[in-house]
Symmetry: C2
Subunit: 468 residues, 2 copies
């Protein structure tokens, strides 16, 4: 039904004044190396009007297009291994910070701005843009919004969705939705912004966003805390939230396996504990100028000790040590890639279900075949990266065929406890079967109806979210 974006179409784009380039590796590979896209042509719009022009041309010729940000997505939302080859519509040239409004704690960024660019612009305006994760130097805000990415500060500040006040987007018919409002409240009809956010490029191309900033914490304190088990970690989270007046900005669970992988793959990285605890938490507080964050952290840790929720801690003694602590956390995904996972999972659970899930999965999964489990992640959000590795000394290749089995088990266990098979990475192409298995049927029917209504030709990111 769709046609391929071939060199003839590239010529047509050029005649319409749109810059193009051939689709090099960057545009057709993804980080985990599981997919390779077929696309050959990249369009490089310089303006929202360019995007509109491209979408209209695609609609005319029934050519699929993939809105492309930093290429850091983990569910193959940005690469299409099946034809006809879609056009890559890269937002990289639209990376301006259009305006900052320091007195409002808002700014407007084009879709191609990286998270790091936006963080820097926020800092210049004496504000904080809290969306933060390992790939922030290359992840672009358009892509972040299209998958509603999360990261390290969701507990306090929310996901990409929560940080977005408004979007400008090109809809599948080429019309521009002018929704760049800097309003905290605007109840004027359907929430098209939140429909576009998280729709993974299947309903339109986000071209710019109005984003919330926050006051920068005056004081920050960071510690690694050893905990007896995940249940204790959760109770400690409650204690921290209550005792600090909800100043907890990060609460990351790390398993002993994470430290072992780091030691094996990054021998130079400095780990916080001499003797690796079975479970530990990286906790960070951000406070106003009149509250000493370190004192508050130490006081709260002492309360946790008294309640037998913690056994040991390392407080970052300097900005440099804080950076080292975070480097430990943020290097875990890289260590995982070096070890080579059989299967990676981005699950979330209701907070209260996390301990039971970890206990149950930790017991049931190794019964399937010998494996190492690395569970870590954003405990404050109930979001675990639950990854499965071959036994030490063995290669993942030998276990590749077992990936679907273990993934099925993990997703079944999570969903049975009210959890989800995709917390912050999205569905893309990699998890369509999961959406079909676990998605609410009424919701899936509504999704199909909405997709058909807004993109009747099916040109927007064909093959993502829905079977093509």
């Amino acid at each position: 039904m769709l046609n391929a974006a071939d060199t003839a179409f590239a010529d047509k784009l050029k005649r319409a004044g749109i810059a193009t380039r051939p689709a090099t590796d960057h545009y057709v590979t993804e980080m985990r190396g599981n997919y390779r896209g077929l696309s050959e042509v990249v369009a490089l719009p310089a303006s929202t009007e360019d995007v509109s022009k491209i979408v209209r041309l695609c609609a005319e010729d029934r050519i699929g297009l993939i809105p492309f940000g930093g290429g850091t997505g983990l569910v193959a939302g940005q690469v299409s291994p099946n034809g006809p080859a879609p056009l890559i519509l890269s937002l990289e040239r639209m990376s301006a910070i259009r305006a900052t409004y320091p007195e409002e704690n808002t700014l407007i960024a084009e879709a191609g701005a990286t998270l790091a660019d936006i963080q820097t612009a926020a800092e210049k305006a004496n504000g904080l843009f809290p969306l933060s994760y390992a790939s922030q130097g290359s992840a672009r805000i358009g892509g972040a919004l299209s998958v509603n990415s999360g990261g390290l500060n969701v507990l306090r500040y929310g996901t990409a969705r929560d940080l977005c006040l408004g979007v400008e987007a090109v809809l599948p018919n080429g019309d521009i939705f002018h929704g760049l409002k800097r309003l905290r409240k605007d109840n004027t009809g359907y929430d098209l912004r939140n429909l576009l956010v998280g729709s993974e490029g299947t309903l339109g191309v986000i071209t710019a966003a109005a984003l919330k900033l926050f006051p920068r914490p005056a004081h920050v304190a960071t510690a690694f805390v050893a905990v007896p088990d995940p249940a204790a970690a959760l109770r400690m989270l409650s204690l921290f939230r209550e005792h600090t007046g909800d100043c907890v900005s990060a609460f990351e669970l790390i398993s002993a396996q994470s430290f072992a992988f780091l030691r094996a793959t990054f021998p130079d990285i400095r780990l916080p504990f001499d003797e690796t605890p079975k479970w530990s938490v990286l906790v960070e507080l951000g406070t106003g100028p009149s509250t000493d964050a370190e004192t508050l952290l130490v006081e709260t840790f002492e309360k946790a000790m008294e309640a037998n929720l913690a056994s040991d801690a390392r407080l970052a003694q300097s900005g440099q040590q804080r950076a080292e602590f975070w480097a430990v956390r943020e290097t875990i995904p890289e260590a995982n890639r070096k070890i080579g996972a059989i299967a990676s999972h981005d699950i979330a659970l209701p907070l209260g279900e996390v301990p039971a899930f970890l206990a149950k999965a930790g017991e049931a999964l190794p019964a399937l075949f010998p494996m190492r489990i690395n569970a870590f992640g954003h405990l404050g959000d109930g979001n675990l990266h639950y990854n499965i590795f071959p036994p030490e000394g063995e290669s993942r290749e030998a276990y590749r065929d077992k990936a679907p089995l273990v993934t099925r088990h993990i997703h079944d266990l999570a969903v049975a406890r009210g959890g989800t098979f995709s917390a912050e990475h999205g569905v893309g192409r990699a998890k369509i079967a999961d959406l079909e298995r676990y998605g609410d049927p009424a919701k899936r029917a509504a999704m199909r109806a909405i997709k058909q209504a807004l993109d009747p030709k099916g040109i927007m990111n064909p093959g993502a979210l829905f079977k093509s």
Copy 2:
């Protein structure tokens, strides 16, 4: 195209096991007395399955239905003055708190639970449900979500939308959307929850919601602060957010006119200042156990004084005085009703545009005809209730025909500054013309396409949001 919900249809509902009652005044009038609904029959489902049954029967017979909560809406979303008479589907019997999860800071409430019920349940679980406004004793959460209501604590905790983790809803075809997830992150397809939230009953009936709770602040401090002008108030807001580590839970602007109306209509109410300041702010801080909220408030106020952002203040000295302060704020809408507004407006502006809007409107509007302006509201959200009254001693009846003119002026001025004609009340039936005038055309087209896709028979709250 639709048929009326008449006694024959009521009989059909009864035969299907659904309780009904005649539509008394409560169901067909609204607070401001501007609309009277034609509905004659109220259906009283006791379960989500009942709601599904009712919707299916309505779909079969092409009968419109109005999901009905507490009847406190201010835009006639709940009353249909035009025929054919829709069925009122009241959620009042579905008012259970289905479960609370103290360790997760979540609870699940049925749509008919009032905000006050939910606040109480949260308190029992040692948590805070922050959605709070004058009508909280009768407003039900289903209605609150359907208009995405706001209120007094949005600055810190967000609107109804932001407090909702998941919904259960009956879609226009009678299917139940099982979306009651207690997850902080769940990126699995289109955000049907946020599409239903704010859709004012035109896409489905919300039957229950999973809601976020927060730690209860250990200490609360509340003060009235006199400010030189709205620009100073805004700079004081920034100063408070920064200096308190973002502990500001309310920041309400009140004009001298508000105090004058209170004095005239509620002579027994105790006002904070002997000499009424032209502008004042009701500010509230909520802190954790280790921070003294009063000291923090006084310190911050002193900084505001030094910066010439404040001239005087009254700190609530006790819980009782705090309640009195809030009674002042929350009685303003009642005072307004006693005075009798010519026209009421629920506008929001980008924060930075509030002072210019107030200056411009305060100059331009009285040039239209003699009037009194009462501007007050949630300054922290850029949300003003900007209401127009006749000159002292005159009746609003004499000015009724001027309402459209002044409303047009106010909405034009707000929208020209990037603002909105409806911040927290919604569109309902009262503001459809505004949506047509000010709404983004691409968004409106998308809204129509979505409505047609999900509710092809047009039975869900016919006449709301769209011209019937």
